[in-house]
Amino acid sequence: MKKDRREFINTCFRFAAGASIVGVAGVLASKSAKGDFFWQLDPTKCTQCGRCATSCVVTPSAVKCIHVYDMCGYCDLCGGYFRPNVKNLSTGAENMLCPTGAIKRTYVEDPYFKYEIIDELCIGCGKCVKGCGAFGNGSLQLQISHDLCVNCNECAIARDCPSDAFKRVPLEEAYQFAGFKTNKKI
């Protein structure tokens, strides 16, 4: 008799626990059917503080400089490539702004030059982004490279970002560039 009562109470609790698990799961699942969120760096808010390079759980950081070619002016004196007050516009290491030499400068036609980011070398420090934004069109922009991003629960850079530029967005809104709209197909 005593055993039965204990068993009965246990069964009641079991059903209550089961019902609450199913309830919570149901409520949340109906909301999540909209698809997953991804982290997005808003370049309009970004101040290029350099923390993207150091705070990411991935080394080197999943934040990379991405070149929006449609916005580029193909300048000879590129504010993102050269240090300020550089003496001669050559590809010498002493002239480069990028600490890892991740920008490749190639001649296109007089007086234009093409600048490409070598993703493997880019550490996402944002120095070139700052330079391009200050002196040029702002075609170099920091973005989260989603093939590298592990999409943490709580992005470690978002926590450290001084300008609150990180937010969760649906997949369609990932890769938002400042001053330019893309027709991407992902």
């Binding site: 626990a17 069109n137 093939d147 943490c152």
Partner: protein, 420 residues
């Protein structure tokens, strides 16, 4: 007339818009004559959703396998094999993410923040182990959770802790769970992920501080079984509660207990309950008195807890970046102090100070109510643990403590009884 006006305003807007765009392009894109083709701006795609499905399927497979090993095969070797798989896959390959322990925070954030919806894989990682626990006990803890598994394989020289020490340390996970819920609900931080001692080891990128903590936990777990699981894990206490009412918990003996006492000291977690000798039932008057006393102590503890914690709500809220920024800005003096990156970021954002102060005041208010609830919750847990200590429970056989037992299957081989 109205139509013309709206058309006109649209035109004006367009012109302004165009002007703004032209302004951003200091150097217009050149017209190339050499037939130059522009490279495509790279926008790499995220990891495909199919992999999240693979994670969930592997979780179900691992859970089913380990449950079969424990309940049907009664094999510790099987548990170890599954543990090694979990450490390799969920630990090193998936780098400890997604994990059930952290998913608690996603669930809380999704419940409190209507703008956020939880990824289905995180929800699956939260719910599936709970369902398995409801039916089979904490088989998830036994060797599917990479955090538990990595501690379990280190356990070489288990020593037993004093009962009172276990009870006291066992209260920490509740406080940790309460704090994690408070911070997740206010959208402040995911502290469980942030202070996960093993994830840095799985990723080979821990800071020295976190690596030291992880290494210390592993070192301790050589002697004390699963220190993180028992005295810190916030998901473990949820599983503990669910496991208490589980339908088919692991039983030490395959048939019926002959009380040979061989298994008595086999459990490294001290989760085997010994038989209790038949005792005279407590008389009705003393039982009533005990009941009334507890009925008064528990609410009192809740109120005291709520009051104490709510006194610290401002300190708790300082973890929130907005509150911290508002506080920093309040004490900022541009003449004597150097502008921090946060203040610089705030200045360029174009937000006014008043807006920030209003926002942070709202967050502080949330923390005030939240800390009352946290304190009351801690008080309730303390009270119920007290009540649990006074409870007398008749038991004939050696049984696993359904709440504390993590079904590691070490005790099974001590039982000499053959299954029939």
């Amino acid at each position: 007339m109205k139509k013309i006006f709206s058309l006109f305003s649209l035109l004006v807007l367009l012109i302004i818009d165009f002007a703004a765009f032209a302004q951003t392009q200091r150097f217009p894109r050149p017209e190339f004559e050499s037939g130059y083709t522009q490279p495509v701006t790279s926008m790499p795609e995220p990891r495909a959703g199919i992999f999240a499905l693979v994670d969930v399927l592997l979780l179900i497979a691992a859970l089913s396998l380990i449950t079969w090993f424990i309940h049907k095969k009664r094999s510790r070797t099987g548990v170890v094999i599954t543990s090694l798989f979990s450490i390799v896959y969920f630990g090193f390959l998936r780098e400890g993410c997604v994990c059930s322990v952290g998913s608690v925070q996603n669930v809380v954030l999704a419940l409190f923040n209507p703008g956020y919806h939880i990824p289905l894989s995180a929800l699956a990682f939260f719910v599936i182990p709970l369902v398995y626990t409801l039916f089979f006990g904490r088989t998830f803890c036994a060797g599917v959770c990479p955090l538990g598994a990595v501690q379990d394989v280190f356990l070489l020289r288990p020593i037993s802790l004093k009962k009172w020490l276990q009870k006291v340390l066992g209260l920490i996970p509740w406080i940790y769970l309460g704090l994690a819920i408070l911070y997740a609900a206010t959208g402040t931080d995911f502290i469980i992920c942030r202070y996960d001692p093993f994830v840095g080891i799985f990723r080979f990128n821990a800071t020295f501080f976190m690596f030291a903590i992880g290494a210390a936990f592993l070192l301790i777990s050589v002697f004390i079984a699963r220190p993180y699981c028992r005295f810190l894990c916030p998901y473990g206490v949820i599983l503990n509660l669910v496991s208490r009412v589980s339908k088919n918990h692991l039983s030490i003996t395959p048939a019926s207990c002959i009380q040979c006492k061989l298994c008595e000291n086999s459990c490294p977690l001290d989760a085997i309950n010994k038989p209790v000798e038949v005792k005279q039932m407590e008389d009705k008057r003393s039982a009533t008195r005990r009941f009334i006393l507890l009925g008064m102590i528990i609410p009192a503890l809740m109120i005291i807890g709520g009051w104490v914690v709510s006194n610290f709500h401002e300190n708790l809220a300082m973890v929130n970046s907005k509150v911290r920024l508002a506080n920093e800005l309040l004490h900022f003096n541009s003449n004597t102090m150097k502008e921090s990156l946060e203040i610089e970021g705030f200045r360029t954002s174009g937000k006014t100070k008043e807006e920030l102060y209003l926002e942070s005041a709202a967050i502080l208010k949330q923390f005030y109510y939240g800390s009352w609830m946290l304190g009351a919750f801690i008080g309730l847990v303390f009270g119920l643990s007290l009540a649990g200590l006074t409870r007398y429970r008749y038991r004939e056989d050696y049984e696993a403590d359904k709440g504390e037992c993590v079904s590691c299957a070490r005790c099974l081989k001590y039982c000499p009884v053959e299954s029939n």
